[in-house]
Every structure is written in structure tokens, then in C-alpha cells.
Symmetry: C2
Subunit: 550 residues, 2 copies
């Protein structure tokens, strides 16, 4: 283990005292650390002691134990260190925040010769995978098109609401793009508009724009997009000094009407501290009067004209038509949008709004996180769950699928179908396995399962799971004949789990607000042990689970 | 005249073909200009030909006429050139967009020993000057406090609405800052919070934050602010290399809860391309794992710890208490906010929201623009208007003030009071003066006045002004005895203005939707010629005019 920078290492201490386990927020201040912080002792521990392989940074690869000079103790997963540690591992190649050119797919029009990134609105709504694909396209390529979005007023706001928050500006919560009698902006005429980004005179600019077509029967009025990052990258390749001039010259962008007076001084090409393209502002109409020496102004205008000329190259211009019901979503800090002129007597009406790219990225990350969770659950059904009988005539996977199917057949609410489907996952998650239970040691699998599921599901799903063993002990106590219907294995585990409840325990259980749901799940649990039942596979339940995830 | 950079000069052509007079947006593309653009001929013209000294770039100092190699002609006010031209004039010292350290007042706590920038809510609402002072304080010093804001739920949204737009985030449209049972953020506990900026894991961050105190009876729970730009400037002075490290190191800020996964990689200190401090992100809790070489990580943590220590210096910490009804507005890209711990059993409840600094700046600019307009109108009343009788027993200023007072005494709507007050301003604005009218040449002062006023007032004010001469010609035609009541001067000008209307003209006038308002103004006009009337001064009408301005 090479020597690790002490403050860096300590700042990343994952212990619950240093970092809130719920949100990863640090619970100490950097100024709380002493001036001479040092590692007093460190030891590596192997994988043998690992019990819980599922926890995020838990990993399977052992830990580095650190005793600090101030007495604090930290424990770092070696797997985490391998990826994060300085001067080694994946340090230099990990993903950034997805916002610079390094994380984008830079494109020319030919890259979409086979079609645009697009989805049907109904599929987008129904299927998280479809939704993730659309959002990922916006994040990687800068745009996507939704087709068949209901062509009704204000619908564009609902589209934005599927991934983020609307950004209100002086143009309103939403704006109508159509010919207006006294337009305060070229957008509201029928004239052609060359590629540009919106609102460059704001800082920050709106990061996303949505344009929803309510009608387009005009001759002309086609849409165009240019990848501003690509255009900037082309400029950098062809004329590095011109690129540098555009990154280092703050340009005054201005907008003024009767109720508004906006100004932002920002470069046309914004780079991050490492020099990577991160933002493009390009709007010929709103560049105000630049100040500088004659030499600087000549250099800027030369660079600006080169850049503008690149954006007009046909190979960079992606052209397509928005028809009624189409909604274009695009990255306004990267892509430039354009439209051809149209006949004034043709009807063309778009409604647009601005929204935030970081919420889109958050929604996408959460969709990915949930998909990964569903994959993990599916794997459990396909793997361990498919091989383990735990004394029944069916595998645990079959048992849980039957319970879910019985709940569904009974018309139960989705959260109960999910609870029935997942009630026994705890057999495979805790320190003690279902097999331990069958050998007489209670594995408390209802708690273990509920805790594991709580990462993704709310109490409406986890409470019945947590209480399904108690519900058995309750029913055996209060319902004559119930105990007699238990399977042999269930009768055995009943005793390990504490036997039927006492009268007092039963009364307390019945008073629990979740008792009814738990009892319902328990009844399906008891029935779901038919050796030859015809049960749908896990994939059948995936959309239902996805919709319940939080 | 030194040689001017041709593309720069042409891009600033103010002609109506090149630039929309309403919003200053350019009507040509930079790529429309030929590759070999040059000045074919240029001549300076003196001030003598100037007719209209009021127009923005019009100025009083003559013009530069340019004939371009492509045949276009441009005309630049010399006054504008003097300020904007390269290598001279005020080029280097003009204001930026107000967002970098160059446009701020950097402060320490001692700078507010005499009190915070603050205003009463009612005064803030009623008086545009008070409103402008509060917004200017936020812009220059980064914060202001409104006192006596109604301590009711959601009121903070109304405060934001007085200058801008609410920015919705994963914390909602607004958020309650009080102790919560299961907090997803340290803010929602009773713990102390050291100086920090909010939402550093978003890009862009919310630029403004508002915190409205609904209750603060807790022991502790005081508020603190630190000028992050000042802290950064101190770091630059004391440890320039540490400052440089913080400007060039993108830091991964992260936030994750069940429904959110945000990340932004941005430096702690953001500088513009000229190296000026423009943005500070500082939140110990949400700094994720930084990657780099051991040397880079050591350098970063050294700089970060120095910066953090500076933010905790007592002289930088401004402390105060928010009481019920106080609303703090502050710049979240500059100021760090903090709070002391408080007793859990004391009640402390703030409601907060985020909003946009650029709209605040826009609102402030428009308030300044309107104040300047009111100053120009006041100057007209105090100057030319106070010296000119135009044949009446009272000066033009007295005449208009009387007309306004008569309208007010009659209980007229504010727009009619304004129209009565301002109806004769056209005598001093047009190519022809009121004196020309008195010498028999119609100066069309009703049109000139209405056009001048239309920059700031809507048609409800300008239409009666535009029609007040027509109303005289109308009344003289249709109302027996009206003409006999005209003053001598008015009888004279009636003839210059075309005499009483024909029957056809009168019918057309009566059918005009604005006829009634115009006639009302005309009657006050006729009465407002009392030599010894006791009339309020212009200042009396200023708030009424301010409220009508758009």
C-alpha cells in the first residue's frame, strides 16, 4: 500500500460517525481535523471476515484499517481504494459529472443517418428502460425526440415534469413559438433562425429546452440542431488559437425590453479548469458591444466568424421536421438549434419551456440504480432462489412467484403483490441463511429481507415482509385450524421462530396498523407451495416493482 | 479617429436594418458579412445637425458616418465611440455584468457595525427607491434583510416574486427549515452548521436563496453570513498558490437520497477567463472523493483547509438573528451561510426557496431605468417647464401640475391623473417647440409627447395625451359654449391645429375607444390655468407615475 495523503484519506472515512449513511453527507468539518493529522498505524485485513457482501462500498476484497494520530479509527474497503487511490487504479479514467466533452458523444449529422434518438410517449411513460434510454440520449448526444405526445396546450410542462423542474424566465413558465403581432424576439416571427443557444444573456442559462409541436402545417419551419461541442472541437483542431481566444474572452450578451434588462459576460466557449469544453453560448443576435484593444477585437471577430462558419457547415447540421405531437428535448448549454423560414399563412405552433439538466441526470441515475436493483432481485430469483427448496416442494423462487401471482389473482394492490413476491428474500441476505433456519437457528429473515428491500421500497412493501413471520405466529394463535394447514417445514420453523403468539402478543399484533396487510401476505405465503402451479416468471412482475420503487 | 476593427464596428451598427430598435437584437448574422469587409469611406459630422437629444445613443456629440465596402452605410454616435472604442476612452473601466469581484463590495463583519442592509416590507413594496436599494444591496454586498414580512406560510414565494422566479429543486418549490424526524439533510436538524453554500452538487447552483423566519423562539439558532468572495480574496493574498489550486481543481460534489442522485464537478473558487472571482462553492458535507496524484491531493487539501479556516475567522463572520417576519435574501454563488445550534425544544421554523440572481439584476436595472425616466420628467418640470408660459398665466409646469391635481381631486384613475399631468410634455421634446406653435406652426405636441412617454407608459396613459388636442377640436365642435371658455392662447392654437372638427371628424373621434379618457383630460387641461392655484409639486405624483411604468 503506497503512502496515502492523510487529509484526503480521512475526509473519505466511511464510518457512520463521519458520514450520514442515508445520504453520504459528511458529519464533520474539514477544520475539525488537527493540523498534524497522520496515520498512526494501518493494517490490511483479508476477505475472510466479510459477512455482508451487498453493501455499496462493502465489497468482497478486504479492508484497510487505519488508526489516526487523533485516535479516530477508519476502515476502508480495499476495493474502493483500488479505484480511488492516487497514482494508481482507475483514478484517471473514472467518469466525471457527465457535463464536459469527455463524457459526451460528439456528433455530426451523418451519425443519425439511421434515425434520431426517439421514443413513443406511451412507451416512455410505461417502461423505465425506455425512459432511461431517452434521458441517456439527452445526456450523451444532447437531445432526443418524444413522438405522440398529446398535442394539447401546456403538455410540454408535463413532459419536463417526468424528469425535472421547469425553469421560469421572463418568457414565462412556457412560451408559445408562433408568429406574434409585436414580437419581442425573432423566435416569434416566421423568419429563419440560424443555429444558436437560448438566453445567453442569463447566467446561468437554462440548461435544457423542450419544444413541443402542437401544429406544423406550414411550408418550411423545419428544425435543425448542431452539436456546439463538436463545432468547438472542430475549431480547436483547425484553429487552436481561435479556440483559445473564444475561451478566454468574456462576451457581453444583452437583452432588453420594456420589463427586462439582462446581461451576462461569458465566453462563447466555456471550458472547465482542465481545459475541456463544458459550455457553449452562441447567439449572434444578443452579442453586445465587446470592449478591448483593437488587436483583441480583431482576434475575437476572426475567431467568432470562424466558429460561426463551422456551425453552418452542412455536415454539422442535423435537419428534421417536428410534427404535431413531437417533443424535442435538448441540452441548451451544448446544442445549437435553428429553424428554416416558413410561410406566414401556414400554421406552425410550438410550445416550449426550459428545464434543468442536473435533474435529468439525477432521474437517469436513479433509474439506473433501480434497474440495477431489479437486476439484483432478478438474479436472486434466477440464482440462489431457484436452487433452494428449504424443505418445501417448490424452490424459493417458485414459492415467491406463486405468492406474488396469488396476490395478483386476488386483485391485491401493487404493494401487496410486491410484498408477497419478495417476502422471503431475507433467506439469502443476512448473516444467517435460510439453511440455518432449517437447522434450528432463527435467521430473522423477515427483518433481514425488509431491511434489504428498504433501500428501494417504502414501508408499504417492507412492513408486510417484516411482519410475515409474526403474522404466522399470530394466525396460529387466533385462527382455529390455521396451524394444521402449515406445511411440514413451516410447522418446523414456527417453533424455531417462537411458536404461536401469546394472547397478549396477539392483541398487540392485531393493533399494529400493518397487521392486515401482513396477514394477507401470510395467507398467500401459505398457499404458494404447489409443486405444479403454472406461475409467471420474475420478468412479469418487473414493471410492477419498478413503479413501486422510490 | 484611430483605425477601428471593421467587423467589430460593423457588428455594432445601430441602424434599424441591423438591429431591432425594440430590444437591440441583431437582425443579421455575423456570417452574412463578406470575408474582406472594409471601411470604404468615413466622415465625422458635428453636433449642429442634431435634432433629438433624448435618444439613447443619440447623444449631442455628432456622428461618424461609415460607408462599407459592401455598400452598407452606418452612423455611429461619437459619444458612443468615445466610450466603447478600442484602445481609448472608458473601454477598460466600464461595468461588467455585475457578477465578478470587480463589481462587488467585498466585506468583513465590521462593515455592518452600523446595521445590516434592510428595509421594511411595506416600504419595499410601496417605494421603488426602497426596492431598488434592497436589490442593489443583494447585488453589491450579496444580501439584504426584509423586516415585517407577514409571517405566513408560502409568503417567501411572494417575496421572490417581487424580483424574480423561484427555482424548484429536489427540495421542492419551497422548503421548511426546522427539525424533522427523518432528515435527508443536516439543515433539517437542530445541529450547528458551519458556513457553506447550498446545492454545490447542482450545476448550475441556485443563484439566490431566501430564508423567511416564521418563528424563532429557540435558544440559539442564530444566523451567520460570510462573504465567500472576500474569503477567497484573503486566501489569494495570503497564499496565492493555494488560491490557484482551488480555482483549477474540479471537486466532485455529490448528493444522494432515495429519489435523487446529483453530482457536479466544479472548483471551490470559480474565476472568469480574466481570473476574477465569480463563484464560490463551499460545502464540506457534500465533497465526494477527489481523484488525482498524491501530490495533487495533498496540495488540494492544504488549500481547502486554509480556505475553510479563513471562513471561520471571527472578523469574516457576520452574525445576527432572524426573528419572526424577517426574510433574508442572499447570493448563493457568493455568500456562505451558517447557523448556530439550537435547543430542540425551542421552536424555530424558517421557510426557504431558491431564486435567480439574473432576474434580480434585471428588475434592479429596470427600476433604475424608470427612476432615470422619472428624473428626466422631473427635470422637465423643474427646468424648461418652469420657465415657459406659452401665452398662459401659469408656467407649463404649473399648468400640468394643476391638471394632474384636478384629475386627482376628481377621483380619476391613476392613468388619467398621469395623462393629465404629462399631457403637454411634447412641447419640449419634438423638433418643433411649443414656441413654434405659438408662432403659428403646429408642433404636433400631442403626438410627440405620447411617443416620448410610450417608452415608459402604456397606451392607457399615452392615448389621452395623444388625443388631447383632438379632444379640444372635438369639444369645440360638439359642445355649445365650450370654445368660448378657451383661454386666449388656446383659442389661437386651436386655429393652428385645424380648428373645430367637422361633423364627420367629430363622429369618428367619438367612436374612438379612447375618446372618453381624452375628453376628461381635456377638461382638466382647460381648467388648469389658475394663476394662484395651490398645487402639489412633481414629487407628489412620482409614486403614482412609478407604479404605472412598465
Amino acid at each position: 500500500m503506497p503512502e496515502l495523503p492523510p487529509y484526503w484519506l480521512r475526509d473519505n472515512c466511511p464510518c457512520a460517525e463521519c458520514r450520514d449513511p442515508r445520504n453520504g453527507q459528511k458529519l464533520f468539518q474539514i477544520t475539525d481535523l488537527p493540523d498534524d493529522l497522520a496515520i498512526a498505524a494501518q493494517t490490511e485485513q483479508g476477505t475472510q471476515t466479510e459477512q455482508n457482501g451487498q453493501g455499496g462500498q462493502g465489497g468482497q476484497g478486504g479492508h484497510l484499517e487505519v488508526l489516526w494520530s487523533d485516535g479516530h479509527r477508519s476502515r476502508y474497503p480495499l476495493e474502493w481504494l483500488a479505484g480511488a487511490a492516487p497514482d494508481g487504479g482507475a483514478g484517471g479514467t473514472v467518469d466525471g459529472d457527465g457535463r464536459t466533452e469527455a463524457d459526451k458523444r460528439l456528433w455530426t449529422a451523418a451519425d443519425f443517418a439511421d434515425g434520431l434518438p426517439e421514443a413513443e410517449w406511451t412507451a416512455y411513460l410505461a417502461d423505465p428502460a425506455e425512459r432511461a434510454a431517452v434521458l441517456a440520449a439527452v445526456r450523451r448526444s444532447g437531445f432526443a425526440v418524444l413522438r405522440g405526445v398529446p398535442a394539447v396546450e401546456r403538455q410540454v410542462l408535463a413532459v419536463a415534469g417526468t424528469f425535472g423542474y421547469v425553469r421560469v424566465t421572463n418568457y414565462g413558465e412556457l412560451f408559445d413559438v408562433r408568429v406574434e403581432p409585436d414580437p419581442n424576439n425573432l423566435a416569434f416571427t416566421s423568419a429563419a433562425i440560424t443555429p444558436h443557444t437560448d438566453n445567453p444573456y442569463r447566467d446561468p442559462v437554462p440548461t435544457l429546452q423542450l419544444l413541443h409541436c402542437l401544429e406544423n402545417s406550414a411550408t418550411g419551419g423545419d428544425s435543425g440542431l448542431v452539436d456546439g461541442f463538436k463545432a468547438a472541437a472542430v475549431l480547436r483542431e483547425e484553429a487552436p488559437e481561435a479556440f483559445a481566444v473564444l475561451t478566454r474572452t468574456p462576451v457581453p450578451f444583452v437583452f432588453r425590453d420594456r420589463d427586462t434588462e439582462l446581461r451576462a459576460d461569458r465566453p462563447l466557449i466555456g471550458v472547465d479548469p482542465l481545459g475541456r469544453i463544458r459550455e457553449v453560448r452562441f447567439n449572434n443576435r444578443s452579442i453586445g458591444t465587446l470592449r478591448g484593444t483593437a488587436r483583441e477585437l480583431d482576434a475575437f471577430y476572426d475567431a467568432y466568424r470562424r466558429f460561426a462558419a463551422i456551425t453552418l457547415r452542412p455536415e454539422l447540421q442535423l435537419e428534421f421536421r417536428l410534427d404535431r405531437g413531437d417533443c424535442l428535448i435538448f441540452d441548451n448549454v451544448r446544442l445549437m438549434h435553428a429553424r428554416t423560414a416558413f410561410e406566414k399563412d401556414g400554421h406552425r405552433h410550438l410550445q416550449g419551456c426550459y428545464a434543468d439538466l442536473d435533474s435529468l441526470a439525477s432521474t437517469l441515475a436513479v433509474l439506473h440504480r433501480r434497474a440495477a436493483a431489479l437486476d439484483a432481485i432478478a438474479e436472486l430469483f434466477a440464482g440462489e432462489g431457484a436452487g433452494e427448496y428449504l424443505g418445501e416442494a417448490v424452490t424459493m423462487a417458485e414459492h415467491m412467484l406463486q405468492a406474488g401471482a396469488l396476490a395478483e389473482a386476488a386483485g391485491a394492490a401493487p404493494h401487496l403483490v410486491a410484498a408477497a413476491l419478495l417476502h422471503d428474500v431475507g433467506h439469502f441476505q443476512g448473516a444467517l441463511h435460510g439453511r440455518d433456519l432449517m437447522e434450528g437457528q432463527d435467521n430473522r429473515h423477515s427483518d433481514t429481507g425488509a431491511d434489504w428491500l428498504a433501500r428501494w421500497f417504502g414501508p408499504e412493501v417492507t412492513d408486510p415482509v417484516r411482519l410475515h413471520v409474526a403474522a404466522k405466529r399470530y394466525l396460529c394463535a387466533v385462527e382455529p385450524g390455521y396451524r394444521a394447514r402449515l406445511s411440514e417445514a413451516s410447522e418446523y420453523t414456527l417453533r424455531v421462530q417462537g411458536g404461536p403468539m401469546s394472547e397478549e402478543q396477539a392483541a398487540a399484533f392485531a393493533a399494529h396498523p400493518g397487521a392486515e396487510d401482513a396477514v394477507a401476505v401470510r395467507r398467500w405465503d401459505e398457499q404458494a407451495k404447489e409443486a405444479d402451479a403454472d406461475t409467471p416468471g420474475f420478468a412479469h412482475f418487473r414493471p410492477l416493482l419498478a413503479a413501486l420503487m422510490r
